[in-house]
């Protein structure tokens, strides 16, 4: 049974290889191959899941050792897998959602002549992501970690002809690389501390190491997590990543890859438990991002960017939870899963909307779409209710648990975190309602005629040029919204189910927590105020958020061109100026640095050498003059030379 783990990874990898090397002859069937292999690994996952349920709780971890990857004196990096409950959860999420989104993409990318390659990349992503979660040591995890980075790079930049897309892709990869520094240094630290970097030994011995070392490792891991999961201060790439095709945003930048950070922290729980300071750092990052993302989400008019903001903030919740230690890990993962459902659903909905709207992404140009695309409306709506944590839906259970845990983390910290999470819930309700209203309610703000300055009102910096590659290249006439094909709606419906019921299903008898407990440990949170009170507060807050949003957008007409807005709004539109900061400090600064270095290299480093050469030449030119062609002056030099010779000889004798 263990030996199936490798197949889990191999199946999509095979798909990627076939599709990418296969060439045009596969264009016709490529997408089906991709989908089939994704599905295959989902089935494999289910089989393994079944097997795992078969084992008794303590012995559910399955291992498979293929071969030694990097065999060097004292440094043994294995290609070996470990499938425990935590990994299992991810495997199912990844393959499940992944398969759905493959399905969705068949319709969404129908008219793209490079669809085969798209599926190749998707499969590549699945393989890398699965490798990431089933690896049994940090080096192999790093392999997967970078692999998903590559896949995300390829997919964000899939429409390479768009400079914006290419830039976004590059940005995503490089920001992630910054995070990777963290991971690699963490691995080095583990190696120097424990002489190994396999989960078992390292986590086993985490307690014995000095707290300083553990804190260092923890912080480095956190840095890595920040990069992958778009947490402050490395969140800047996620917004731009929306340049990629929507299925990609759904799968990679909402449901799975961005949650890898949470996985990393949860997986390394033992290390963080041994390093309170690192945990605090994690919590802080989570809290900050939670608000940051939410605020950004409120201001964006680009539907995908609004959702991206919300993704950030939701992951903020998870990271925060994970930072709380054993009381939080399970909830973090649980929220992660539910979020996987509803956020994927929301993105697919958004994609479906864009599909019907000529790839228009500016919500201010939507409105009243519920009549035109009912299925999308319903599924999106359910996802909406789930994410704001409407009682009874998935989000409610998972988020509420996190808020409790936050309060329960004790002391002032507890109160602060509790408040932040509450506040976050409110803001979430606000901006999601805004999205909902702007998109599906109100009167339609789009003209069936093609309007010239489509890109005009959109976010500065990102111009969205539809047509060329979009599936609607054919009809240049304005948008005429319509429901999307089955291949797209079915996944949406499935995910909607997930977002409605998953939470409840997990929470009944703490199923999920018990399931994970052997891996992540668990201690019941004891919040200072009783759980019902917290729940009540949550509900109140979210209702408040919804109400405000309704008052703002629901009643009057919405201006097609965004109003100037308050200072905060404008800042939020520009991702709270974080990008501008990067641009000024890093990009500009970097450019100046490199330019000056180029100069230095040319003038100084090279100059020194050329200078010496030149000076020798000059000397030569001067000495040459002595050779003036006059025999008598030659005689003089001889005479002088002899004189010196004699003098020197005598001198030698004298001294």
């Amino acid at each position: 049974m263990e030996n199936l783990i490798a197949l889990l990874v191999a199946a999509p990898l095979l798909g990627a290889a076939v599709l990418l090397c296969g060439g045009r002859r596969l264009d016709r069937v490529g997408h089906w191959i991709g989908t089939a292999l994704a599905a295959a690994s989902f089935v494999l996952g289910l089989v393994l899941f079944g097997a795992m349920l078969g084992y008794d709780v303590e012995a559910r971890t399955m291992r498979q050792h293929l071969y030694t990857w990097v065999p060097v004196e004292g440094f043994q990096g294995d290609i070996a897998f470990q499938l425990d409950q935590l990994s299992m959860t991810f495997v199912l999420l990844i393959t499940g959602v992944g398969t759905l989104i493959h399905l969705y993409s068949i319709g969404y990318m129908e008219h793209d002549e490079r669809r085969r390659r798209f599926f190749g990349y998707l499969n590549l992503f699945l393989a890398a992501m699965l490798l990431l979660v089933v690896a049994d040591n940090y080096l192999l995890l790093y392999f997967g970690w970078e692999g998903v980075g590559l896949a995300s790079y390829l997919l964000i930049g899939f429409w390479q002809h768009k400079p914006s897309a290419a830039t976004a892709a590059k940005k995503a990869f490089i920001v992630n690389r910054v995070g990777d520094i963290g991971l690699s240094i963490a691995i080095m630290l583990m190696f120097t501390t424990f002489g190994t970097f396999a989960f078992g030994p390292v986590l086993g011995a985490a307690g014995d190491a000095t707290e300083g070392k553990m804190t260092a490792i923890g912080l480095m891991l956190l840095l890595a997590a920040c990069g992958k999961s778009a947490q402050v201060p490395l969140q800047s790439w996620l917004g731009d990543a929306m340049e990629g095709p929507t299925p990609v945003s759904a799968l990679i930048h909402a449901a799975t890859m961005v949650t890898a950070g949470v996985y990393l922290i949860t997986r390394s729980g033992a290390i963080f438990n041994a390093a309170p300071d690192a945990q605090t750092a994690v919590v802080v990052v989570g809290a900050v991002t939670l608000l940051f993302g939410a605020i950004v989400g409120c201001a964006k008019d680009d539907i995908k960017k609004a959702l991206a903001g919300s993704t950030m903030s939701q992951i903020g919740y998870m990271i925060l939870a994970a930072g709380l230690g054993p009381i939080g890990y399970a909830f973090a993962i649980m929220h992660l899963v539910t979020h996987g459902f509803f956020k994927a659903g929301l993105f697919l909905g958004a994609g479906s909307v864009m599909h019907g709207m000529n790839d228009e992404v500016d919500m201010r140009k939507y409105g009243g779409l519920r009549k035109y695309m009912p299925v999308t409306f319903v599924t999106f709506g359910l996802g909406y209710l789930a994410i704001i944590g409407f009682p009874g839906l998935s989000g409610f259970f998972s988020k509420d648990k996190i808020i409790e845990a936050a309060f329960a983390s004790g002391g002032t910290q507890g109160w602060i975190l509790g408040t932040v999470t509450l506040l976050g819930a409110g803001i979430t309700a606000y901006y999601m309602t805004r999205v909902m209203i702007l998109t599906f309610f109100g009167e339609k703000r789009w003209q069936p005629a093609p309007d010239p300055d489509k890109a005009a009102s959109v976010e500065p910096g990102i111009e969205v040029t539809p047509g060329a590659v979009s599936d609607h290249a054919a009809d240049a006439s304005g948008p005429h919204p319509h429901e999307s094909p089955k291949s797209m709606t079915i996944p949406m419906i499935v995910l909607a189910f997930g977002s409605v019921f998953a939470g409840g299903f997990f929470s009944i008898g703490d199923r999920f927590v018990n399931w994970l407990e052997p891996v992540t440990q668990f201690e019941h949170p004891h919040p200072p105020i009783s759980v019902p009170v917290i729940t009540g507060m949550t509900v109140v807050v979210l209702l408040a958020g919804v109400a405000i949003a309704y008052l703002q957008y629901g009643r009057g007409p919405v201006p097609v061109v965004a109003p100037r807005g308050s200072l905060l709004t404008r800042a939020a539109r520009r991702d709270l100026l974080q990008d501008d900061f990067n641009h000024v400090v890093l990009v500009r600064g970097g450019e100046h640095l490199t330019r000056s270095l180029v100069y230095v290299d040319h003038t100084l480093v090279d100059g020194v050498v050329n200078g010496t050469a030149a000076s020798v030449g000059g000397l030569s030119g001067r000495l040459r003059k002595l050779q003036n062609g006059y025999a008598r002056s030659y005689a003089v030099s001889m005479f002088g030379g002899t004189a010196i010779l004699i003098a020197a000889t005598l001198l030698m004798r004298a001294v």
């Binding site: 040459r624 003059k625 050779q627 003036n628 062609g629 025999a631 008598r632 005689a635 005479f639």
Partner: protein
């Protein structure tokens, strides 16, 4: 009388000759100065030969004369041909090649 004085004289003559070589422009004269130096050497040889009471020095003097004579032949040949083609025997005029 002390032979050492002859040595001083020889040194003097030698220096005069050398100075002539350095100062004079006319190739012939320069060459004469060289001859003077050679003769200074002869004087020195003879003087030393006297001091040491062996004949080597005097023999050498004869050799020197022969060599000097040969030098004259060659030298004059060269200088004359130079003169004929340049109509000047100045060593400073002969400075086509420099630097």
């Amino acid at each position: 009388m002390n032979p050492v004085n002859y040595l001083y004289l020889a040194a003097l003559l030698f220096t005069i000759g050398a100075a002539g070589v350095l100062i004079r422009r006319n190739a012939i004269v320069v060459f004469m100065c060289v001859e003077l130096m050679l003769n200074a050497c002869n004087l020195a040889f003879v003087a030393f030969s006297r001091m040491h009471g062996n004949l080597d020095g005097q023999i050498i003097a004869f050799f020197t004369m022969v060599v000097a004579a040969a030098e004259v032949v060659v030298g004059l040949a060269i200088i004359v041909s130079l003169f004929r083609s340049r109509h000047s025997a100045s060593v400073d005029d002969a400075s086509l090649m420099k630097l």
